[in-house]
Amino acid sequence: MKKINLILSSLILAGLFISCGGDSGEKSGAFSDNVAERVYVAPGEHDEFYGFFSGGFSGQMSVYGLPSGRLLKVIPVFSQDAEKGYGYNEGTKPMLNTSYGFIPWGDLHHVDISQTNGELDGRWVFTHENNTPRVARIDLDTFETGEILEIPNSAGNHSFAITENTEYLIAGTRFAIPSPQRDMSIDEMKGNFKGPLTFVKIDQETGGMELAFQVVMPGFNFDLAHPGRNASHGWMFATTYNSEEANTLLEVNASQNDKDFIVALNWKKIEEYINNGGGTMMDAEYAHNVYNHHSSTATSTMKKGVKTVDPKDIPGAVFFMPIPKSPHGCDVDPTGEYIVGSGKLAAELTVFSYSKMIKAIEDKNYDGDAYGIPILNYEDILGGIVEQPGLGPLHTEFDGKGNAYTTFFISSEVVKWSLDDYQVIDRKPTYYSVGHLMIPGGNSRKPFGKYLVAMNKITKDRYLPTGPEMNHSAQLYDITGDKMELLLDFPTIGEPHYAAGIPADLIKENSKKIYRLDENEHEHAVRNESDTRVERKGNEVHVYMTMIRSHFAPDNIEGIQVGDKVYFHVTNLEQDFDVPHGFAMIGANTAELLVMPGATKTMLWEPKRVGVYPLYCTDFCSALHQEMQGYVRVSPAGSNPEIKWSLDGD
């Protein structure tokens, strides 16, 4: 009997093991539900996507890896960055020059990756600044800002888009102003202020930006813009609010009209008009700043005049589409047929049909005009309405599978809905009050519909508290299934207004490891230690210095006197990946230099007191980094000391 029991129990045990084995097999499904697993990028592994995030009022752009949410880099664009010396050293100061002079700060809003045939091509990232109207190009071989162009006769540079072959960058005016500026009563705004939409031509080889023309629109506030794509290529769409043209207490006075507008603009038609000699030159002054990556030096040029176009002069080029209640987002789906308008205060989402719009234009079926610009009939161009989607719709992106995803600021959620039947499929909360969202390629013909990132305006309790000021928060969702799944929370820099994601494979191979010393074009570069020297020119002293593990050449300098302007031109002689050297000088009223291998950077130092002052390397470069230091002797003003320099007595 005992034996039978034993046999029976071992059989049962065996059965258990087998069923356990079977279960664990089936649990591979449950395993794939493991959220941590899906955002875990193992040490040493790379993320699948780059995410370029706007830094908002930080003025910078941050680069994240997705899905891990790891911060890879902060690229200084519109603000000084003491860490990299951007906007502090002599080479990069001109980048922040404007018609108002040097401006150390900016408010970086939207970002867009260049496109070819409506698909992300990874050539450049473009962005813009809201406060001092400027646009910028980031080069993706160096991940540095390559160019900044000021937009004249505009204010609150906000509605921003890149056309589907990167032909143009579009920069709209959010704060209507007298254009060009003049002294006038604010009360007389209505009908007298303007809202220029600026078109910047992009050079297809260099990404270089050139002010092409401005369409001088009525003084509404132009908010968000997107290009037509695919079917609607050649058009651009931008929302307006404050069609009331209120100049005070806008939160009330700009919220009175039942409908505001989305402007539909046929830029190809306007381009043709310009090419045929149309348009008039208007007074303008703007800075054009170009950075040479070979010389680590920017030049700032002041330019004058801008070609302007009155939309009334080009029939059939500009139309208004009425849309309920102070619209914000204006997003075009991958096919180019649907234009999703988000009335911030509306209880529904409006989707316009491009083909219906074209038909309405052909039929000349207008519902009056605003300042001579035809207004289309709302019913004629309506594609559909998403009923009761949420509160406070802002922005929409697409997954390329017929679904749209819209953020709702007030109800703090992302809502997935179908472009086929306008029915809501899923909704997930965000933490908290989401603004923009981003799907890699979600603003192109070809979205990579795997992840969605929600960028939230309010953080509250999501992370360990850090005093009254919290970093903004982003959330990553998996959107491969019917239902969205929240995977990850991560803090962001400044206030991300929008981001652009791209598969890492499209750009990572182009990323440079070093600057080539033999291609260094810096005016004061030296390529080897034997050329290092110190030269006096009046009260200017130029130090031609090199850095290599682990010393400066020269590292002993005499002959400087109080009142001199000492320019340190420091070249990093390394040609090895990730061996930067830094340079700091006691008493210099500026930031350090951070010099990548093969590059040269220049710091200005104005010694104020006699003595012997140390300089040192700020970036832990090698085992003997601590020893990487030197001395400069400062003699009294007027003592005319002999210039001397040496390394190891030579």
Binding site: I548, R549, E574, Q575, D576, F577, A623, L624
Partner: protein, 205 residues
């Protein structure tokens, strides 16, 4: 002796690969160099695997006071080696051709093989002497002066063949494509000798 003659020609011709591919390759990996620094040793000089590898190896080596990697004109070997290899390849091809038309005894093939082996061993010996000198003749004012347990200065000699740990670096020293072609070629010439012996006997009969 058609077969053996062809083998001999092919085998000696493979030596010519040394004019295009490196004889030897030394790689230096370290925690800081996940992509190892590498040098390709050609019969006519030393080149970096990547453009700046030699410069970076020299940069790293200056801490322990090693000499810079020699340029081609700084070592007589890089003048002699191409002549020796070219000469031996030419000689082998000539012998193969003569063998092909059965003008010579296959023992010539063996003779060529033995001569090449002796030259090869001399070459390896010379290479090792250089490595030893390179790894031990250090600047007395070196930044890092390290000694072993017995108080003798550490040798930084990379291995002639194989993998060795030198401080934070792992040095791997193996034949390059040219080296493998040479070994394969020499094997073929030895094979040519054995095949030739059989063919030669048949001719004799």
């Amino acid at each position: 002796m058609k077969k053996s003659g062809l083998l001999m020609i092919l085998g000696s011709a493979l030596l010519l690969g040394l004019f295009y591919y490196p004889l030897w390759n030394i790689q230096l990996g370290a925690p800081q160099y996940p992509e190892p620094l590498g040098m390709d040793i050609y019969i006519s000089g030393i080149e970096g695997e990547e453009e700046f590898d030699i410069q970076n190896i020299d940069g790293v080596n200056h801490y322990i006071g090693m000499k810079k990697i020699p340029k081609a004109e700084e070592m007589w070997e890089f003048n002699i080696f191409p002549m020796v290899i070219g000469g031996m390849a030419g000689l082998g091809i000539l012998l193969g051709a003569l063998g092909f038309f059965s003008k010579i005894n296959p023992n010539w093939f063996l003779g060529w093989f033995l001569l090449m082996s002796v030259l090869g061993i001399l070459g390896m010996y010379d290479f090792n002497v250089w490595l030893l000198d390179y790894g031990t003749d250090l600047d007395p004012n070196a930044i890092l002066k390290l000694t072993d347990k017995e108080g003798n200065p550490l040798s930084y000699k990379p291995p002639l063949f194989g993998t060795d740990k030198i401080l934070n670096f792992t040095a791997s020293s193996y034949p390059g494509m040219g080296g493998y072609m040479m070994f394969a070629g020499m094997t073929l010439t030895l094979l040519a000798f054995f095949v030739g012996r059989k063919e030669y006997k048949k001719i004799k009969i």
